[in-house]
Symmetry: none
Subunit: 211 residues, 4 copies
DNA sequence: GAGTAAACGAGACGGTACGTCTGGTCTTAAG
DNA sequence: CTTAAGACCAGACGTACCGTCTCGTTTACTC
């Protein structure tokens, strides 16, 4: 419907190309990190011409981000009625996503930020990637804020809490561990984060923060 | 004291070289970001041979980190007796440091992580840089934890607070803003962060957390 | 014929590149000898990327030899029916070729072997160049031997002459003069060489060797 | 006698340094050809500072030539009363000398000119080396010419022979084989060369050139 | 024996070219 | 119009190695 005659001309795009390319790119990234992601190599492994590559992803960075997006996937915030648990799941899921990227080209995974830093740099180099990524995280924050709003309304979360900051203090430390300190960012760390922000965040009558 | 006879042999290193090189490198970084940091250019501007460059910094990444270290400088945590104020200063100082880097090659400074992401990537590419950087931040955290300990002892900070996590929740969001969301990381943001973590963190009798 | 379909793929090589590069390289060699042959400079002058250079000539030495081959050119051995004259022309032509190379970067031209020695060294450094050069001279010798055979059959050259050695004794001294003694290698020298080898080389009845 | 007071001042040169350095240099040259001759490596192996090296040999080329001179040694022309034999010995000795150099960094020794070409190039690069080498060969030629003169006087060598050219036609082909064609240059080749130049070079009454 | 001159060891330094790598564009022919 | 193939441009990187320079040290001769 969209394109009747105008773009019906010529050879149609091979739909399988995307998959083959992203697979090849991920293999390289996984094997040796960003430094191992080589456009010529990707083209060869995917059985695709470089022209084709560049027609779909204008830049190596764009391709890398596309690969990462596929790996990271969506991180929805659940709503079971238990904020503590929902937030923990939310943060743990994000930590797990980043952890997968951290492992690329980094077998033991400890210490190095691995791919994550390179992707952040890629976003910094290209305004369009940056905007895309920031949009993604803005939407994620919107959902989280909505969840916190519901917690205020239904679960006794104090009304004077700065939701914006609370989310930053949950998500930020995870990135910080991965990108800077190299420390662990696993579920138990997520639990400690949630514990800390929710400690004293409920109105006394409704719920206690700590046993 | 460190090197009495062993390394007294041979022509001594020219102490001025470091300064000239780091200056030149910072000029380039400041002007055009990481992409503008060119080893040949640095050598030429500093009036130094490339061999000399590589004798002292084995890699362009190492040089960049050295420049950044000089720019970032030390961020001591003050101890005025007022934790809230000390923490705010501490965080605001770090935010300001990162902000300076973010501006490199990025006149308007909004949105992009600029140099910061590139430097994180550089640290991730070289295990030795990573170790160095992590050591730096580990020491910084040690100081901060010591400050929090004193707050527990003298200023009524609750004893059951997870100091480790509290620091992460102060520092982490700053990096997160700079590297990921592109949001502002200024003094007022630091104040909100400190406010949030100290809210309810004091024993009722001693000090009030919020007016 | 060699490559019908196999190498018909992809963008064909630009035939003009060779000319531009060899011209630029010769300019440099001519102006300052082997030391002045600079790959970056060649690339710039020829308006060509260094990758293109190295795709065609894997080494600076290979390029230099290619330039020399163009300068030296073919040295056919004539067949006018007069061996003495033909050999003299043959030797004088080779001497003139080498003389041109000797002058490169060596205005007065006396004494120094100039480029010739450097090219010999280049051939010695790379087995493939050595093989190529030796093949070239082997073909040249074949032609010369054929000419001597005809002289035996038609011009009364003695049948017991060692053609191989005779050619070496004509060509060898020219190289020796250029590479080692620094002496002149001109037409009159060629005449003396030919005179010496043909002296007494003819059967008495047919031709006299010396007036 | 040469230096009484002027250079008697200060610490005298260590006579053992030359030996150690030349040994080390020859080891490198022998092992990997001219490309393997590395001044830093020579200094280290000889247990000598680079300063000392350059005080004695102003250039790597000078050092290489010094090594070669030691290897090549003197090639006197004998005078047994039998020109044919003397010339053969003379040429065979030179061929053997060059053959030794050809083997450096060139185990099988066939084909490549090995060090010889590099040394010729070295001589071409430095006027002083060139002059020295040409002087050496000029003296050698003088001796050879003197021998031929005696052959004219005592052994019936024809008076109209061009001695200069005859020597070139004996020595030149040896260098030509080594530097250009890669062919063998052994005693039997020397015999063929001598045979050719002496064939018909004697006055009929006195001696026959060939059996 | 103190002074001095030069050789020496060690290693930083300047200079410069090399060959490599890789990102991204362009030109063919084929589908 | 897309695809494959591969030549091409651009430009930085890190390396290699030569020859110089700058120290501090050692070894003689000289006064």
């Amino acid at each position: 419907m969209t394109q009747n005659t105008a773009s019906r001309r010529g050879r149609p795009r091979d739909a399988d190309v995307d998959r083959r390319v992203l697979d090849a790119a991920w293999d390289l990234l996984h094997g040796g990190g960003y430094a191992a992601l080589n456009m010529d190599e990707v083209a060869e492994r995917a059985g695709v011409a470089k022209t084709t590559l560049y027609r779909r992803w204008p830049t190596k960075d764009h391709l890398a981000i596309a690969v990462a997006a596929r790996i990271l996937g969506e991180v929805p915030i659940p709503d079971t009625g238990d904020v503590r648990r929902d937030l923990t799941d939310f943060i743990a899921a994000q930590a797990a996503s980043l952890g997968r990227l951290r492992l690329a080209g980094n077998p033991d995974g400890a210490g190095s930020a691995g791919l994550v830093a390179e992707l952040a740099a890629a976003a910094a180099r290209h305004p369009d990637i940056g905007a895309l990524v920031r949009g993604l995280f803005a939407r994620r924050h919107d959902l989280a804020r909505a969840r916190l709003r519901r917690a205020s309304e239904r679960e006794g979360l104090r009304r004077d809490i700065d939701h914006e900051v609370m989310i930053d203090q949950l998500v930020g430390p995870v990135w910080y561990q991965i990108l800077v300190t190299g420390g662990p960012a696993d579920r138990s760390y997520a639990e400690r984060l949630v514990e800390a922000v929710l400690d004293g965040a409920f109105t006394p009558s409704t719920q206690r923060s700590k046993s």
